[in-house]
């Protein structure tokens, strides 16, 4: 019953301990905003969207701070939702820097993006980053929906070779980490996302009653859990870690089966009208759009409240012919300030932003109560590297769309003090979503000013 108390400033202080600097408290979330709290009418959703290889910062950062600013070139497609954006300049991921680990900035920048933890440099012997913010949130509120979280990506991983010097591809291909050793594999195929979240993916469904099938599946899960428990006594160290991944995964599925019972059988119109995707569209743009639609759909249907979406893997060298860029993105990002290359990078950045703008506009067009789905969401968009040429991790390109049930005062551009940890934003969002955490990664406190 304790956590049913209204969210008062005093509670908040107690929870945070003394590490927090006072000015941050000015922006303690109002009672109404508490994500899954008793007073919020609509659940709060959050997604983290990621692009690789940094950003052409002069075309990303608005010239003015505050409420009166003009959208720079890259963000121009956000014109209609400008008042729903909060652009955050000056945030830093210090743990994405070398800090003695040498080369591998690309892999690190993805590994640190949602964790704030220096990824362990390893090609495979021991993969270790931190638990990512979305997974901290998913662990706290995931039980309220059928799926704890959704992980999407519009680019498959590499089939062979290396991704970045000395780092396993696991770092470059994932931003979501369930625990420090287990990346949450992302789904690339829209068809499979749809089937998993909304569809009837089970073969031979018609031949057998739902109830009996569920019963059998449950007994199969019981059986294999027992196998795993018996193995637990015989294995050590790394093997145990792998076995734990297995145990966790099986338990999560069990919980999901239980939760599925609680759901209404009726499908809302927007769900029945959604056309089942056929697979991975050959057009990259279509692919991103379709995955974005699915994320929105899963928020709308409240199938999950937490998502991550990698528009491309870190270090991606795909070319963007459909917008006239024939060179690979990563090669281009080492631009040496060549105006021609900078222009092309800016084009790629603008292309990606346009896809995000489409999603944000779509979320704004979905009414929920007096507001819209966007009003009840916080969508973070950005990169783990600032300038692709310098591989620097300060002044990252980061923005949030959506007012997040009042947590975020949008329509502004804020510029933070040099070296303000990005982890402070992640911590603020973790708390805002209703998860308990006093610190996160290399956070030094909450991020000031999100609420005005």
């Amino acid at each position: 019953m304790k956590n049913m108390q209204p969210w008062t400033r005093r509670n908040f202080l107690r929870g945070l301990g003394t590490a927090l600097a006072l000015p941050a408290l000015e922006s303690v979330y109002p009672q109404k905003a508490l994500a899954a709290g008793p007073n919020s009418e609509f659940p709060l959703r959050t997604a983290f969207m990621f692009v690789p290889n940094g950003m052409h910062m002069p075309d990303w950062t608005p010239r003015n701070t505050g409420s009166y600013f003009e959208l720079p070139k890259i963000l121009s497609s956000f014109e209609h939702v400008k008042r729903d954006l909060l652009i955050l300049s000056g945030l830093t991921h210090d743990k994405g820097r070398g800090n003695g680990d040498g080369a591998g900035d690309h892999a690190r920048s993805a590994g640190v993006f949602l964790t704030g933890v220096q990824p362990l440099k390893s090609e495979g012997a021991e993969i270790r980053a931190g638990v990512s913010a979305d997974q901290v949130i998913a662990k706290a509120i995931g039980h309220q929906t059928r799926f704890a979280s959704l992980e999407l990506g519009a680019e498959t991983g590499r089939q062979s070779g290396k991704c970045d010097s000395g780092y396993s591809c696991a770092y470059s291909n994932n931003i979501s980490w369930r625990d420090e050793a287990t990346p949450m594999t992302k789904e690339v195929n829209p068809k499979l996302v749809f089937e998993r979240f909304f569809g009837n993916q089970i073969p031979s469904e018609e031949s057998e009653s739902q109830a009996r099938r569920k019963l059998f599946r449950q007994s199969i899960l019981d059986f294999v859990l027992e196998d795993a428990r018996r193995l637990e006594k015989q294995v050590s160290y790394r093997d145990k870690q792998k076995l734990n991944e297995y145990l966790t995964a099986v338990r999560e599925i069990e919980q999901r089966i239980e939760r599925a019972d609680l759901e209404k059988q009726d499908r809302p119109d927007y769900l029945t009208e959604f056309e089942t995707p056929e697979g991975i569209p050959s057009s990259y743009e279509e692919h991103i759009k379709l995955l974005g639609d699915l994320m929105i759909l899963s928020f709308q249907a409240d199938v999950t409240r937490v998502g991550t979406f990698m528009l491309a893997n870190e270090g991606s060298n795909r070319s963007y012919r459909h917008i006239g860029v024939n060179e690979g993105h990563h090669s281009l990002s080492h631009h040496q300030n060549d105006p021609g290359k900078l222009a092309k990078i800016s084009e790629i950045n603008e292309f990606h932003a346009r896809q995000v703008a489409y999603m944000i506009q779509k979320m704004k067009s979905i009414p929920e109560g007096d507001g819209t789905l966007l009003d009840h969401s916080m969508i973070v968009y950005g990169a783990g590297i600032s300038d692709g040429n310098r591989h620097n991790n300060e002044n990252l390109p980061i923005m949030i769309a959506g007012q997040g049930n009042g947590l975020i005062r949008t329509g502004r551009h804020l510029s933070y003090e040099f070296e303000t940890p990005m982890a402070n934003l992640l911590l603020s969002m973790i708390q805002g979503m209703g998860a308990k955490a006093d610190r996160f990664g290399d956070s030094t406190g909450l991020l000031r000013g999100l609420n005005g």
């Binding site: 590499r158 591809c169 007994s219 792998k242 040429n389």
Partner: protein, 783 residues
């Protein structure tokens, strides 16, 4: 030395050998040479002067503390750290620019000393087979295992998320993680597999068909007519139907009928199957309880004129005996024809009968389930099932049957459980819990069989391997050598081509390259496929025909179809089918380095990249990857204006003149430039942007070469190539990255190989017979 000697002479006496190894490990652990003078006298003072203030007792940046290292530190034991230290020194990244810098000579001296020390260890003293983390089946392994276990080949893993890559391969135990989404896919895949392979219920036998008589033709409508769902016969009359009999044989014919009884007799129904094949049925049933009457007869294949006749109408209303008044009518419901009844049931799908060969008698289902699950589980878990496992599985079968599932359906449930069990999804090498204090143990025969089959087939062991394991015969050098030969000849070893070669030479990535269609319109999907096929067939021949490793670099043959031959400008190849083509000097091709696949995937979309090609050869062929460039590296100009200002080579040479870049580019660029005569999709050319191509160059050690052919001939002679292949194959075979102590293994494999003319199969055998492949460290010994 002693180890080698005993191995050669007492081949099959594995026990003796094992004891010998274990003894030596025990002895040698104490006698490791403690030649610490270099670390103490030379390296330590350097660290003290330049490194301690950040990596010492006061601060431990990046968790590194040099200050507390003991004076007898053997740096080869922490290879990762010291290689990093060496590389950072080499790249001038450490000490950081704001700190005191050592002189260039001092820096160079320490770099060399670290290199020396890294190589400084004694193989007689170090015998650590390493420890492989349990490996989850990756996508290819899952598909192949299901194929070989169940006989269904429908690639359920296509929907699985991609496996992460470590050390260049996607079968590395530490890297293969299992997320909830993958677990869910395993569950669904198991369900698909059993529904594809096994019947949930057996089809009824013999086949039977019911024919509704009201649909028959009456010969007189007013006498015989349909009444609801039955045919009513109101006076003597017939109902006729033509039926097709598919097979001659004995049939059982059942008729459901009743009478509206009246008079002294029951209604009589005649069934006629022909003029002289008639049966009269005395229909004694009443309307409230119709009966089924059956007869048996022989029917011939072809059209059957079935006739139902009512024989004894009775309609008397004025009989003195009241009971004999009445109207007798006949009503017929259906005719069921079942058969032929005296033939064997048709065979069930092979995939079903190989798992469930028979049908248990009622009441014996559970015992039968146990009987057939035992061999199945042995194959699925790649070791015999335990009694406890069989108990729990048969419990599951029993449970499903209590839920009113058929026996077959219940077996499906149990087999789904097997296919979802951690014992199936992971390859376990469980150490005995009562181990006797030894660090190392030999793998048991079943573990060895799995290592072998997943190495060469990316799949489960077949019956021959499992039988050898069961008989305890697998752990014998001659048996293993023979098995390697057998397995490589089996088509299943195609998996070694797609999984090992595809990742070593990286041609698996060919489907992600995107040459600019405007510049390279000839690069069609068909050409891409042909390039891949060429490399696969080429590797396959070296593997199956046991050719020399150097053939990878320089062979006088390849495989081409018309599309690819035209692309290469080689004449005389027609059609889509690939054929073996002999190459002579005029073709300017031979070996993987001149194959379209490699040349294309080491190019940029719009141009060749000598740097990428050079780097690729250093990494994949010579096993000496250059360190990565610093982030702020100037990239090559590729605008039109730049192209006019000089050939690509001249431009790269300008770039190389910067000292920051020179060290590495002096290694990469000349190698890459040797292949400039091949454009970004592997076609021969003499000019680039109007400039004559000059493929000649000099390697850092001063070796000069005229062009690609010349360079290849030089690379062939280098031991580093053979070492590189050994390291890649050992990594793939073990599923772990190599450690400092593996250097002894790669050395001994190298010796065996050179003794065997560098034959491909000698390499595979040497890997299979090596200690890391056959033994395992029971302690989590990693530093």
């Amino acid at each position: 030395m002693f180890i080698k000697h005993s191995k050669a002479t007492v081949k099959s006496a594995t026990v003796i050998l094992l004891v010998a190894i274990l003894m030596i490990i025990g002895i040698c652990e104490q006698s490791v040479k403690a030649d610490s003078t270099i670390f103490q006298q030379d390296i330590t003072p350097f660290l003290k002067q330049y490194c301690y203030h950040c990596h010492g007792v006061e601060k431990q940046k990046a968790d590194v503390n040099f200050q507390t290292l003991p004076p007898n530190t053997e740096i080869y034991k922490d290879r990762d750290l010291w290689e990093l230290v060496r590389d950072l020194l080499l790249e001038d990244e450490m000490p950081p620019s704001k700190s005191d810098q050592p002189s260039a000579e001092d820096r160079q001296r320490i770099i060399e000393l670290i290199g020396q020390e890294l190589d400084q260890f004694d193989c007689d003293a170090i015998s650590n087979p390493g420890r492989v983390t349990i490996r989850r089946l990756n996508r290819a392994e899952y598909d192949n295992t299901i194929r070989d276990l169940m006989g269904v080949d429908f690639h359920p893993a296509d929907d699985f998320p991609l496996d992460e890559v470590g050390y260049g391969f996607d079968n590395i135990g530490d890297v293969l993680s299992l997320s909830p989404i993958l677990m869910e896919k395993y569950l669904n895949a198991a369900e698909s597999v059993v529904t594809n392979a096994l019947l949930a219920e057996l089809p009824p036998w013999p086949p039977s068909r019911q024919h509704q008589v009201e649909k028959f033709t009456a010969d007189q409508d007013d006498i015989v007519r349909a009444e609801g769902s039955v045919m009513g016969f109101y006076r003597e009359g017939n109902a006729l139907k033509k039926l097709l009999i598919e097979q001659t044989g004995e049939y059982k014919i059942s008729v459901r009928a009743h009478g509206q009884q009246a008079g002294p007799d029951h209604a009589k129904l005649e069934l006629a199957f022909g003029d002289d094949d008639k049966y009269v049925i005395d229909v004694d049933a009443f309307a409230d309880r119709p009966k089924v009457y059956a007869i048996q007869t022989t029917l011939s294949k072809g059209t059957l004129n079935l006739k139902l006749s009512y024989l004894n109408n009775y309609n008397v209303q004025d009989h003195p005996i009241a009971e004999l008044n009445g109207d007798r009518n006949l009503f017929v419901d259906y005719v069921e024809i079942k058969g032929p009844i005296n033939v064997q049931p048709p065979s069930l799908p092979v995939t079903h009968s190989r798992v469930i060969p028979g049908q248990p008698e009622p009441g014996e289902e559970v015992a039968y389930a146990r009987e057939i699950l035992s061999p199945f589980v042995k194959r699925a878990y790649r070791r015999p099932a335990t009694e406890d496992e069989l108990d729990r599985l048969t419990d599951l079968v029993e449970y499903a049957m209590v839920q009113k599932a058929t026996f077959e359906k219940s077996m499906q449930v149990a087999i789904q459980a097997v296919l979802t069990s951690p014992h199936f999804l992971f390859r376990w090498e469980l150490d005995p819990t009562d181990k006797q204090g030894d660090d190392t143990r030999a793998l048991n025969d079943f573990e060895l069989a799995s290592r072998l089959s997943y190495f060469l087939w990316s799949s489960m062991p077949d019956d021959e391997l499992l039988n050898l394991a069961e008989a305890g015969l697998l752990r014998d050098d001659d048996v293993l050598s023979y098995q390697v030969e057998r397995m490589l000849q089996d088509p299943k070893s195609d998996a070694l081509v797609t999984n090992f070669a595809g990742q070593w030479l990286q041609f698996r990535s060919l489907d992600t390259v995107t040459p600019d269609p405007a510049k390279y319109p000839s690069f069609t999907p068909a050409l891409r496929d042909a390039m891949l096929k060429e490399s696969e067939l080429f590797f396959t021949e070296i593997m199956r025909s046991n050719r020399e490793l150097t053939d990878f670099l320089d062979a006088d043959f390849t495989y081409l179809n018309e599309t690819l031959a035209n692309h290469y400008g080689i004449e005389g190849v027609h059609g889509d089918t690939f054929q073996r083509v002999s190459l002579d000097a005029s073709s300017r091709r031979g070996g993987v380095l001149t194959q379209g696949s490699i040349l294309t995937l080491t190019s940029n979309p719009t141009r060749t990249s000598p740097v990428l090609r050079g780097k690729w050869i250093l990494e994949q062929i010579l096993g000496t990857p250059p360190p990565p460039p610093p982030p702020d590296v100037p990239m090559l100009e590729e605008t039109q204006e730049a192209a006019l200002s000089g050939s690509l080579r001249e431009r790269l040479e300008q770039h190389r003149s910067k000292p920051d870049c020179a060290t590495c580019h002096e290694k990469m660029d000349p190698i890459g430039f040797a292949f400039e005569n091949f454009n970004a999709v592997g076609q021969w050319r003499d000019l680039d942007a109007g400039f004559q191509i000059d493929p000649a160059g000099t390697l850092p050690d001063g070796t000069q070469f005229e062009g690609a052919t010349d360079l290849i001939a030089e690379l062939k002679t280098r031991d580093t190539f053979v070492h590189s292949v050994i390291e890649k194959m050992l990594t793939f075979a073990l599923g772990r990255g190599l450690e400092y102590y593996d250097q002894c293994t790669t050395e001994s494999i190298f010796k065996k190989l050179t003794d065997n003319h560098l034959k491909f199969q000698a390499l595979v055998k040497a890997v299979v017979l090596s200690n890391p492949f056959q033994l395992r460290n029971q302690e989590g010994n990693e530093s």
